[in-house]
Amino acid sequence: MKTEGRQTRPVTAANESMPQSFSGNIGLSQKEDLIFEIGTPRRTGVDLPEPKGTQSRLGGMERQGEIGLPGLTEPQTLRHYVRLSQKNYAIDLGVYPLGSCTMKHNPRLNEKVARMPGFADVHPLQPVQTVQGALEVMSELSDWLITMTNMPAVALTPKAGAHGELCGMMAIRARLDADGQTARRRVLVPESAHGTNPATAVQCGFTVDEIPANAKGRVDMDALRAKLSERSDDIAGIMLTNPNTCGLFENDIIEIADLIHKAGGYFYCDGANFNALVGRVRPGDLGVDAMHINLHKTFSTPHGGGGPGSGPTVLSDALKDFAPVPFVVKTQDGFDLIENADGEAAQSFGRMCVFHGNMGMYTRALSYMMSHGADGLKQATEDAVLNANYVQASLSDVMTPAFDGYCMHEALFDDRFLKDTGVETLDFAKAMIDEGYHPMTMYFPLVVHGAMLIEPTESESKGELDRFIGSMRSLAERAKSGDAESFKAAPVHAPMRRLDETQAARKPVLRWTPPEDTAQAAE
């Protein structure tokens, strides 16, 4: 950065040699109160004449007292939310290395396509003849997903990852029930699984049996074989994430699929990390029976507060007849929707949402796929894996990778490098906020002590990664130099300092009360 004529030291309230501002603002960063503290029920931003000659038809059920919503003028309202948005951190602001979440860039072309009136202004209850273009998008998206996964069918409707898991496990349950296999109720889940896996299994009436991980962070095959040889006539299936939550490819996945199929169960693959495989590995070739795909991760549709998710679920030949309605079919005259679980969908397990899923995500994801092309999607995968390995390799001498060898799309570190420094993973994460980065995922996966999971994605340039790596190296060296104090105080440059997370969890205050009420209550 050119420094001539510029302040090189940040002037913040934390810079103690400088006086605090009188306003509480820090330069152009505005202090912002709660909307209830700014507004008053006596004010309104809309000036309308009192309605005349209207008669209430509520029959005495009218509201008697005030409900106490804050009233603000339009400029006050705008400023409030713009100021809050400026305190937020987003993928549009900087590196967002939240492992397992795949915070990749959301291309603006996707947004442009999704806003085209033919997609944005259609209603799910319109006659199908008037929404042929939208149905074609759904059909085309299905074709791309089927091709990429080499699976015969896809259910588009699930609205997020866990909903997709539910779809896949409901299909497995429906298939087992249809075959009269009602004793098959045990689902194997590795201990490093996403927490939603066991939750989904239980929701579908299964019991969960944990498989331990081996020292290489992968499924312990001996433990798996032992479980299956002990008893297999109650096995419904396995739920396995690949690459797993340690960012590692499950090398034994084909054998795992074989073992489960021989035991009479089905293989649910958690596709949350499919962004590490697209163009390189097809789940259909691995023996997968069902897998959800997070369009909001792998295919760049906004998430993390920026938009709804979408979790299309691909299904194998064994499960495809049980797919939920509605789905799109090609006919001689164009496209049609199969809405009911009868006729050709007689075995469908039913409906997962009122309409057709999150249409806006379908257009964005298809726009991403078509603008990248098959070669571009493959390169995005390779760049994501390369970036994660670049981060891991560049930090492995000052931090401690949890496992040996290459990683896939995310780099996992444990807290051995912080041993005896007095600094914990949480403090390290807070210090990253002062460096201008959203912290990585911490304390997950649980199988690694003090875990720090970094997923840079393919979106970051080498220059950006080098700056990030530089900050991480400096922080690691500072921790080892015995300066635990600055870590315990972090963040000092953020709008809010260290929050009392324990107290917030133990005694959550979910409702704002006016100061006078609090004062009265104290009397």
Partner: protein
């Protein structure tokens, strides 16, 4: 009365055929500030290794497993309002539940205090 430990960091204090179960100070410390405890129904029949309770900290949610099989006879309901007791007194006031031990021979698989201390050193 003897206290025995599991590799999952539960302890069980045995008094006749009743065992009081909690998590070790090592586990409470590793979890960090405990913010929520979910206790089982009284009367629940547990086998050794079954999930008996859930403990949630600012870092993670973990299961507390039954060190031996038996029936739950009493739970420490005070933890629901004061989960911090688990951190303050993991091996005392922070106990989770009492269990009527079905088969005392299952205690034989557990570690005594010295063996457990040695086990924690290796972690």
């Amino acid at each position: 009365m003897s206290v025995k430990y599991t590799e999952d960091h539960e302890w069980i204090k045995v008094d006749g055929d009743t065992g009081t179960v909690g998590i070790s100070p090592y586990a409470a410390n590793a979890l960090g500030d405990v913010v929520f405890v979910e206790l089982p129904e009284i009367g629940l029949e547990l086998s050794k290794g079954d999930e008996a309770a859930v403990v949630e900290s600012v870092k993670a949610a973990s299961e507390v497993y039954a060190p031996v099989g038996g029936q739950v006879t009493e739970v420490n309901a005070a933890l629901e309002d004061a989960p911090e007791t688990v951190n303050a007194s993991a091996d005392g006031g922070g106990w989770f539940l009492k269990i009527k031990i079905a088969d005392a021979s299952e205690l034989g698989d557990l570690m005594d205090a010295d063996a457990y201390a040695e086990f924690c050193k290796g972690l």
